[in-house]
Amino acid sequence: MTASIMSAADAVAAVRDGDTVLVGGFGMAGMPVDLIDALIEYGATGLTIVSNNAGNGDTGLAALLAAGRVRKVVCSFPRQADSWVFDRLYRDGRIELELVPQGNLAERMRAAGAGIGAFFSPTGVGTPLAEGKESRVIDGREYVLEYPIRGDVALIRAHVADRTGNLVYRKTARNFGPVMATAATVTIAQVSRIVEPGELDPEAVVTPAIYVDRLVLP
């Protein structure tokens, strides 16, 4: 089924209380701000948010956290100069954190999207982030077993979509978008423009439409 073009409000109604939501972006680059704002407005709660960071300033993800909708954050780099919303919730014990090295975070979502049951990663071996995890020596090197991270919904930002849902991105705003698109039951892409099928060069498509369910224009 090809992607549906919807309002942000209608699109985020896919999110249920308690869902795991993958949120694209690296800082503000690639952050689907309109979708996050719509999710705050919509009111789903008890969410697990998977994203590289845990919100900056008082808008976007930080606002979702501040609104008390998030139970747990899975991310690689929560602490930033302007992450005061997360910092306060964490210190008050009001939010759970699973800290994941950035490459493992990306690969765990890639594994989910690719149907991989689990994989052995060399990242984190000998560190506190590998404690309690199964490990194995393969060809003389130690690896840690990492499990997939699957989302109920992915909120990503791309540059241009065609009506079927094929996506291209812009510069480093691509970041987690293509991986998250594959790893969720429902993928919602906020895009700057939607064109007719045939207008995107098939050789240049980064995320094929099979991974994209809903398109939202600003």
Binding site: S83, G126, V179
Partner: protein, 213 residues
């Protein structure tokens, strides 16, 4: 006559082979880019999905969709390529990246790296891509002041801070000396106004003097 951060960056840049694919960590290591020789063919990787990263963007060049790992606006060089995060970290983990340069809280004599957490109970942990870089890049260069504010050495027999990676650091560039971590031990490559004896006393490591000293 200890070195300034800029002088340290210049020395690191000198040791990066022509044509290498290199990741420069956030903060001090970013300075290394200023000292790469034009025409060296070194290609900079940024973990958020780009090879061929150019200098910081200024004025009209600033584009919110084009940033480095520190989320600062940057530019692209001719021949640049963009890719998603799983690819970006596959490049590291898969051993395709020649060199990464990172800061550190501590480096051990065995090349263990500690640079993400001081283990303080009230600290908010954040690791980013440091663990992936530490074990992935073929050579890990550390750039740091040798002594902490309290005067203790950050090159240590064993790390007391939580590790980022085990036995991964190959070179340590400090303001008073450069060290090579080799199978035979830690070798002093070069000193800047400090004696080998003082380095051995302060680090508590049986350092191997440089044959070229």
């Amino acid at each position: 006559m200890s070195l300034s951060r800029e002088q340290m960056a210049e020395i690191v840049a000198r040791d990066i082979p022509d044509g290498a694919y290199v990741n420069l960590g956030i903060g001090q290591p970013t300075l290394v880019a200023d000292y790469l020789r034009p025409g060296s063919g070194v290609v900079l990787h940024t973990e958020n999905g780009m090879l061929g990263m150019g200098p910081p963007a200024t004025g009209d060049e600033v584009d919110p969709d084009l940033t480095n790992a520190g989320k600062q606006p940057v530019t692209e060089r001719p021949g640049a390529a963009y890719f998603h995060h799983a690819d970006s970290f596959a490049m590291m983990r898969g051993g395709h990246l020649d060199v990464c340069v990172m800061g550190a809280f501590q480096v051990s004599a065995a090349g263990d790296l500690a640079n993400w957490s001081t283990g303080a109970p009230d600290a908010i942990p954040a690791v980013g891509g440091a663990m992936d870089l530490a074990i992935g890049a073929r050579q890990v260069f550390v750039m740091m002041s040798l002594f902490a504010r309290d005067g203790s050495s950050k090159l240590v027999p064993e790390c007391t801070y939580p590790l980022t990676g085990r036995a991964c650091v190959s070179r340590v560039y400090t303001d008073v000396a450069t060290f090579a971590i080799e199978p035979g031990g830690v070798r002093i490559v070069e000193t800047f106004g400090i004696s080998d004896e003082e380095l051995i006393n302060k680090t508590g490591i049986p350092l191997v003097p440089s044959p070229f000293a």
